[in-house]
Amino acid sequence: MWSSPDKDPEDRPSMIVLKNTNSETQKHRYDLPYKRSETHCHSEYKMSHRRGFQGRKRGANYIWHKFDRRNNHFNYPGTPYAVGLKRRKERYSYEDRYFLTVWNDRKTEECEDLYAERRATERWYKVTIPSGRKYEKTWLINSIQKLCTVPFVPVDFHYDKNRARFFVQDAKIASALKDVNLKICDETSRKISLFVSPSVVPYSVQNKFSSEQMEHLKISIMKRYDASQKALDLEKFRFDQDLMDKDIDMMLNRRSCMVATLQIIESNIPELLSLNLKNNKLYQLDGLSDMTEKAPQVKILNLSRNKLKSIFELEKVKELKLEELWLEGNPFCNCYLDDSEYISAVRDLFPKLLRLDGRELIVPTGMDIEAPQLCKKTHNETELIKNLVLRFLKEYYLFYDNGDRLRLLDAYHDQACFSLSVPFNVSDPDLDNLEEYLKYNRDIKKQQDSNMRVQLLKHTKHDIVTSLSLLPKTQHDLCSFWVDLCFHSEMMLCFSVNGLFKEVEGKCQGCIRAFTRIFIAIPCSDSRICIMNDELIVRNASPKEIQKAFTSSPAPDTSLKPLLSAEQQEMVKSFSVQSGMKLDWSQKCLEDNEWDYTKAGEAFTALQNEGKIPKEFFK
């Protein structure tokens, strides 16, 4: 109980002091700690003296702490009720006093924060990528955005020598962008530096047009827009009469003017195909580079008679897929020795360009990459052989059918061989009418005599031609020919011909025959081929073959399509036999695999192994 009276007098003087003056209150703050703990207070006291503001702030914190301690004391369980009541009253007064003080400090701090925040959101920052010139703008901005935790809008993106630069507003964005430094890797795995620094307001923002001016600008632009051609003519836009009347200085070589123009294009005519910027004194294209986002469909661009000093300015718009470009009358055009050098330089930036300064461009052969060339070569080779064979056959059967067969002498090699065979077919009712061919039949299943086998194989070109002359006169139906290229190497060509002919003389005049002919040829002089082996198989044509014989028109245009169609029919039937599927499903399988027989077969096998082909697909 003695201790209680001690505390009471201590509190009472404190209250008195608070009631008197502010200066007294301040003094009290310093005194109280000193009494409580000498060492600690001494340290605090010294710090306060050295840093006034900090000291004051610390003092505020201390008061708060003090309040907490007193609160703890209030909860002491041993306190008598009567004494507790008294203490509570005193504490209430004390608490009220200090609460007011704390509240004031906090409010001041809060106001200050709000003010700072407002300033931060209005502040501009410049973002610099030291080696940014070598990266495409779109790729660069997208790469930065992916790693930046805060979305941002780049303002006035441009290249300055080797650097890429843009501006952003807001300190938070600037802070997030700083974290992207060295986080992006390019295709060569080099880390990209990115630096952020405070900046003045960007030029285009400083010179921003008012809403009213933008409305006037829009009207002027839309007057110059040809909707049918999707073409916008902004030639000498500086001297647009309507804009001059309204005192709007629209100079497209200023960033702010180009930004405003592209903004109107983006909002009103994003489908723009052709843009004429002739005669606008453009000396750089940084502003125009925004076109890749705002008017990406532009195919025709006229930049003639401007002030571009280097072709590298065009790098800033090379992401456009231009087909036509006008550049004549710019200073850099004088830097080339001749047209081809100039065209080549422009072409490096716009590989798919079709017209330059109004002239059609020829696609240089050097543009082909290696793989297509290989395919092309293969295709050419096949085409070459095909043409060679077809030309040979046309010429061969011209003489065989229409002239003296002795003239075929030149078609054969000195050491050539020829033989004739007639397959045995029990179901053929007219086998007897093949007697003119049976005389020479060299079927070695029937002809066992070694000497006869040699005798029936004609050897040397003279014997061959003599033998051919003894066979019945013919007329071949060239449109019925199927030609297979069986084998080819540098030294040899093996091809077979299946088709129909009719006899035009003798007792079998008018009879239709079917034949298979196998030729082995070697190259001769003047890109001609020379026959080394010749095998002829002759049989009677079937009723259906007879029906189809000599019905196709010889005209190339009309015969080509039926031939291809017939070929596909052949593939369908063959595939049907092989797969067991019905004709229509076989056709579908081939169609689905682009008439690639092997591919279709593989697809069929795979599906069959997986049990995915329904039963009803089969015959």
Partner: protein
Amino acid sequence: MAMAVDFKMYVDQACRAAEEFVNIYYETMDKRRHALVRLYLDKATLIWNGNVVTGLEALANFFEMLPSSEFQINMLDCQPVHEQATQYQTTVLVVTSGVVKFDGNKQHFFNQNFLLTAQSTPNSTVWKIASDCFRFQDWASI
């Protein structure tokens, strides 16, 4: 005279090769289909009714897919191929004709021609198929 004797020798060789080959080929096709691909050179080409199949793997797949067959050979002919065309690799042209029935299909007449090349082994000469060209005859009858 010397040339004539040489020619006869080549003709005889070709005929023996053809007869032996045809017996093996069609029996293997009908009864031991899985072994058929061994008769072909690595880079052999088959043209089956105008459709090209090249290489052993593709050939194996092709023959596996083909329904079981019954071949009947009605005609056989052959010719020696001059060395000028073959780069001194002994080669024979073999031509066959006959009737084939694939399981589930009608009977078809066919013509087939092969280019065979001689491959020397320690024991004997083995003939391998360098090219194979097969066509149904009477194809319109389907």
